[in-house]
Amino acid sequence: MSSQHVPAVGATNDGGPETPLVVALLGNPNTGKSTLFTALAGIPTRVGNYPGVTVEEKRGRFSRAGKQIELIDLPGIYSLVPRSPDEQVAMAVLEGRQEGSPSIDCLVVLADATSLERNCYLVSQALALDLPVVVALTLVDLAADRGITIDHAELAARLGCPVIPVIAPEREGLEELADAIAEATHRSPPPAPAVQLGDIEDPQGHSPAAVEAMARYRWIEQILDGVVTRSARAGWSLEERIDAVLTHRVAGTVVFVAVMLTVFTSIFWAAAPIMDLFSGAVDGVAAFLDERLPEGAIRSLLVDGVVAGVGGVVVFLPQIALLFLFVAVLEGCGYLARAAYLMDRLLVGVGLSGRSFIPLLSSFACAIPGIMATRTIENRRDRLLTILVAPLMSCSARLPVYVLLTAAFVPNTPVAGLSWLRLPAVVLASMYALGVVVAAAVAGILSQTIFRGPSQPFLMELPGWRWPQPMVVLERVREACWSFLSSAGTLIVAVSIVVWALASYPYNAASIEADVTEHKAQLSAQLDAFATSDDEASRGLQKQLTEELALLETDEGLDAARRGAASRQSFLGQAGRLIEPVVRPLGWDWRIGCAAIASFPAREVVLGTLGVIYNLGEVDPGEEEGSNMLIRRMRAATWDGTQRPVFTLPVALSIMVFFALCAQCASTLVVIGKETGSWVWPVVTFSYMTGLAWLGALLTYQLGTLLLRG
């Protein structure tokens, strides 16, 4: 047991400058490949995607017997016949055709001892590659629990290559495996397996590939005959009992709902205090800079552009970390596949699969961790489709928009005569339902049209139950956070700076003062016009106008008015006026259009922007005072030059529908670009969602107006 505590295999590294021995790690999914990689090489030296494809490239380094060894982790696959992107990349790397990958000196093939027959399929293909091969027999402890014993010496003799049993989490067999790898180049490649195609008597018109597959299994059965022995089992094993409960119609569903509720509440609520902590720190930095720096463009750039952008990035980290913690634990213990199995039927109708469930569920908290979690979907088509519809789930950033508009404009009346069922609650629930229904429709239509292709069979291994490996789980969380920060994060900050510039320039002090003066004059004129009337409505209006004028005399009020004028005169404000004809049919005035454009960095910004445009300065719509002020100002807003209010029930609903369906979230679009490896998909997502949002808002406003009038 002394080998248990060896920190890194072959720590006696003389670190010579010679070219490293390049070793590829090949194996079926769920064979403990990540665990073995971590046990051999520790933290990877390189994680990323192969150029042009969404196949993960992972490399690490260790040394043994004075040799530097470069370990390349290939994607988990069942076959080397290159059909899926994973299989194509694996084969390209093994044949030295993959751009940027070194040629392979030795191949380590993992074989799960609990299901050796199926694992030997890949082994039989690997043996034909004319490379030195070492077979690592993994999960031998689990196999022993199931009464399976394997004569690995005999297997090595029959295959013509070393077969090393390992228990990676316990570090057992790692020394032997590392030795076998280091010595690999001194051995000649094993003989190619003698797969006899003629053995299949009745090919039944199958293709040569199918006949070959059958012949390979025939060969495997011969090789393993006498090597694998199973002791007769008494009754059901613990594993089988767990499985029977967790995939049971009733018990399985109950456990599933409980697990999903835990995951969802964690990322929705438990992440909130940490996120508040992060945004508190960011606010602190912003306030610090605000005080120390002289007023001007630099301060504005740093505070409203850079710090706000960085804040907008780090705020996602708690949710990403928590979701990946759950995903890694669920995947590590084998539940992720069961969850997909339980939910598959529900999603297959709209062209998705059970694997899409957790990413879509997480998207109700935030689409960013949700889209990142689609990495667990092996099928590329399903993954892309899930990514495209995930932003339609109503995320937590939409909630403040819904809540404020509902509170301000939806009357608190009972629905269908039920005193407990109030209209605001129905409206809020409808917004969530709208996202789900539209996502189902979009997924269904896309899967029947542009994603229509040869149907991929849904074949999913349900791996055995095992304890998740803490090192593998932590590595997964670390990698998810790091990849988000390093690749998506920088771009998100850049977008934030661009939007800041558009909202701050052009800045013309003279025309801002002119705007404020004009505003004052308008208020005075209105006040004069009502001075003679003495009914109750006019008195109220007089009071309001007097208050507003008084506010303009204070520093704070004047500053807010200047900020409002600046934002209305900026490029963004001009764009708002420019698009007015487009948003007019939605019942919006140019100010709402402006706020909708300004919310491109993140949806929740729309409320803050409305605050600035309505001369409230920086109000916090999350706080009661701020939200009350904003609601009052919105209720008082009128169409330019008239007394007609802007915000009516149909307008509020049309804004809510727009925000339920639109893609006004730069971070989501950046993450879609990063995860799909192509800028086509963010453009597609933005276009189709904005189109749907506009259409939905149009229908809502026009129908709403018609119904209220009738």
Binding site: A213, T247, Y341, L459, M460
Partner: protein, 85 residues
């Protein structure tokens, strides 16, 4: 002779042939569903689809649509009763 999607939960069956000659057929064969193999239908998901199989020492879930392409002969009912689960 019947197809795998019609085999009741708990029963075992021997594969006679996998119908069709496309990538899906090849994938089924690669996963070990070859003619002559005896497998067991372990369960079906709460909504009826997919089904869970036990073969070659592991568990595989496939949709009924794919299972319908696999011609089998029912071998025997499971010796283990599913009572209480």
């Amino acid at each position: 002779m019947t197809s795998l999607d019609r085999v009741p939960v708990g029963w075992s069956a021997r594969v006679s042939r996998v119908v069709g000659d496309d990538p899906a057929t090849l994938r089924l064969l690669e996963m070990g569903l070859t003619p002559g193999l005896t497998l067991r239908v372990v369960g079906s998901a709460p909504l009826g689809d997919p089904i869970e199989l036990e073969l070659r020492g592991y568990r595989l879930s496939i949709r009924r649509r794919e299972a319908a392409r696999i011609e089998v002969e029912v071998v025997e009912a499971a010796q283990v009763a599913l009572a209480g689960v």
